[in-house]
């Protein structure tokens, strides 16, 4: 293990510990430590869920397409893909924990599941996806589970062949799950008739395209970090770059399509959404559009793909853009209080009924119809803890498991 990796692991470990302690503190004091309140009931944590779910996707999409469509060039990235998928999907599940008011009651999900609830579907698909990515990774690693890892392997005649065969067989299932987690996660939002910003059939396909973009970027970045930007990988990276670019374009198309429809319809609510998106959050919004686009475009440039710093910057830009995009799911949904009406006698006014914040601090306003949410430090620390978890998991796996392909392709 090199020193960089080691210090990264220590750092991640440290962040995880701090975040865990912070979560314990939050458990004691309640979610009052976050900056969410009644009218803004989901914040950074749930944005994190959407973000990690997105990251998780690319991995299996990529890996399964290698076997499904026989894209040989990408083979060295297959295990990495499955690994990042596993790390991110478990991170996605973990980030929900601090968002839950009573995590000690999570068992109720099993005891009393309500199958009408998209959240239950999501729990199911996320778990299945985690299982799938773990299994996939395992199958791909099978041939190399030798030596001190031998105890992990199973007895089959031809390991190599077995691995290939099952990787192929599992590919469509994995792809289905990969798409499934996005669709279902998107449904959590898009089924909410209360929130016009979300209530759109475009949300699920958009989630898928974002996921393909960012998930692939994550694999690309991980691959570059693991293997370097040597010439032998350029073919693969080029292909990834292409996928990413196309996915970003699809995402932007779907998003703009949604915005145009909202803007065109011009009802009070959609106007408010536009105001929030283009008013208060205009810079963030520009960034969410520009960053992935520029990032993806840069990744199409051979010069970028050949330079580690440039490649990292471009992928980072794209990932950051997507993160901001995920964060921006919330404001236009929650800053726009859903109980909006046109008061009798006032034909041209849209008015939303203020909501009590639910958080008591002496002297503060009680009822809110506009709220600028900025995550609290507790939320940021916990989110960073989850990021650190994913990182640590990947690093550990790379360190301990035969993730990286030793021989040249």
């Amino acid at each position: 293990m090199n020193a960089k990796m080691k210090s990264s692991m220590w750092l991640s470990g440290g962040v995880i510990l701090v975040a865990f302690a912070t979560w314990i503190y939050q458990l004691q004091e309640g979610l009052i430590l976050t900056n969410m309140q009644n009218s803004y009931s989901w914040g950074l944590y749930i944005s994190g869920l959407a973000f990690f779910v997105g990251n998780a996707a690319g991995g299996l999409v990529l890996t399964s397409s290698i076997y499904l469509f026989g894209v040989k060039k990408l083979k060295p990235l297959a295990k990495l893909g499955a690994l990042t998928a596993f790390a991110n999907v478990t991170a996605a599940m973990l980030i929900v924990l601090p968002d839950i008011g009573k995590p000690q009651r999570l068992l109720n999900l099993i005891l009393h599941p309500n199958f009408m609830s998209p959240l239950v579907w999501d729990v199911i698909v996320l778990n299945l996806y985690a299982l799938a990515s773990a299994t996939y990774l395992y199958i791909l690693m099978l041939p190399e589970l030798t030596g001190r890892l031998a105890w992990l392997s199973i007895k089959v005649d031809n390991v190599q062949e077995f691995s290939e065969k099952w990787a192929k067989r599992l590919a469509p299932v994995a792809l289905l799950f990969a798409i499934g987690i996005h669709v279902v996660t998107a449904w959590i939002f898009s089924t909410q008739g209360a929130r016009d910003w979300w209530h759109s059939p475009a949300m699920a396909p958009d989630f898928v395209s974002v996921a393909i973009a960012v998930g692939t970027t994550v694999v690309l970045l991980a691959g570059a970090l693991a293997y370097g930007t040597g010439e032998e990988y350029q073919e693969a990276f080029r292909l990834l770059g292409l996928i990413i670019f196309m996915a970003v374009c699809t995402h932007l198309f779907l998003m703009m399509n949604d915005l145009v429809i909202h803007a065109w319809y011009g009802s009070g609510e959609t106007q408010r959404i536009m105001e929030i998106a283009w008013g208060h959050f205009v810079w963030a919004h520009i960034f969410e559009v520009a960053a992935p686009l520029i990032g993806a475009w840069l990744l199409l440039q051979p010069a970028v793909r050949r330079s580690m710093p440039r490649l990292s910057f471009s992928s980072g830009l794209l990932i950051a853009g997507v993160f901001v995009h995920r964060f921006l799911i919330m404001p236009a949904a929650y800053n726009n209080i859903p109980m909006t009406m046109t008061p009798l006698g006032l034909p041209h006014t849209d008015w939303s009924l203020p909501i009590a914040t639910g958080r008591f601090f002496p002297g503060m306003s009680t009822f809110i119809d506009q709220y600028r949410y900025i995550p609290s430090s507790v939320e940021v620390v916990i989110l960073l803890g989850i990021v650190a978890y994913a990182l640590l998991l990947i690093l550990l796996a790379i360190d301990r498991l035969p993730i990286l392909v030793k021989e040249k392709p």
Partner: protein, 224 residues
């Protein structure tokens, strides 16, 4: 039987007594309000949005027949009681706040912290807190507690603790405008059913398809 409420906006004087009755009887800690009365069009209650226009709108849980909050609740903590009221099982709720997001009326309130702490911070005398003082179970499920644990969601229960004793909800008893009525929507001859039929009753956000069981009677237009 189907519980229903009618609020007559002609009679509603915007006094907010129902808010306070609700808050007090249902032991809502500082900064938590299940019931809100505002002046539509204005950010300030009792300040007209425009010269010569002002009416008042009380809003609490609409006890929707097609309740998104119930549908999204992953653990079935939010449920329809037999009489049509939408209730929350305080023992079941995991505090995911999905329901808050899904409710178009913004009526759900979360316990961001231990209510006792909030009471202490607002400097009530030693451990004093107001409200109906006992836990209450409806159809066996815990739907009222004077001190709710932190981390769960709460909202208007149609005053389950009082209804089960044959008493009217606190907001109805507390409304000096005599603007609130409750009754059986299934009975076409009940006071509420008759009012709904005869007085152009409307519901809030009908476009959301939630089918509220809280109905509003429009204020009388001013004859100038």
């Amino acid at each position: 039987m189907k519980m229903g409420m009618v609020i007559d906006l002609e009679k509603c004087i915007g006094c907010r007594s129902c808010m306070v009755a609700c808050k007090q009887h249902n032991a809502q800690p500082p900064q938590t309000w299940w019931n809100r009365v505002f002046t539509p069009g204005s950010h300030r209650h009792l300040t007209p949005p425009a010269k010569g226009v002002e009416f008042f709108l009380p809003v609490h849980c609409q006890h929707c027949e097609n309740a998104p909050c119930e549908k999204v609740c992953p653990v079935g903590a939010t449920y329809h009681a037999e009489d049509g009221a939408v209730l929350i099982d305080y023992e079941r709720c995991i505090g995911c706040r999905y329901c808050m997001s899904a409710c178009p009326y913004g009526v759900r309130q979360f316990n961001w912290e231990d209510p006792e702490k909030a009471h202490v911070r607002s400097e009530y005398q030693e451990k004093y807190h107001y409200g109906y003082p006992e836990d209450h179970r409806h159809e066996g499920r815990l739907v009222y507690m004077p001190l709710r644990p932190k981390g769960i969601v709460e909202k208007c229960t149609f005053c389950a603790q009082y209804r089960d004793k044959g008493e009217l909800p606190a907001c109805v008893r507390g409304c000096p405008g005599k603007a609130r009525f409750v009754g059986d929507l299934d009975d076409p001859n009940s006071e509420v059913s008759v009012m709904i039929k005869q007085r152009n009753a409307f519901t809030l956000l009908p476009e959301k398809g939630t089918k509220p069981t809280v109905f509003y009677l429009p204020p009388k237009a001013k004859e100038v």
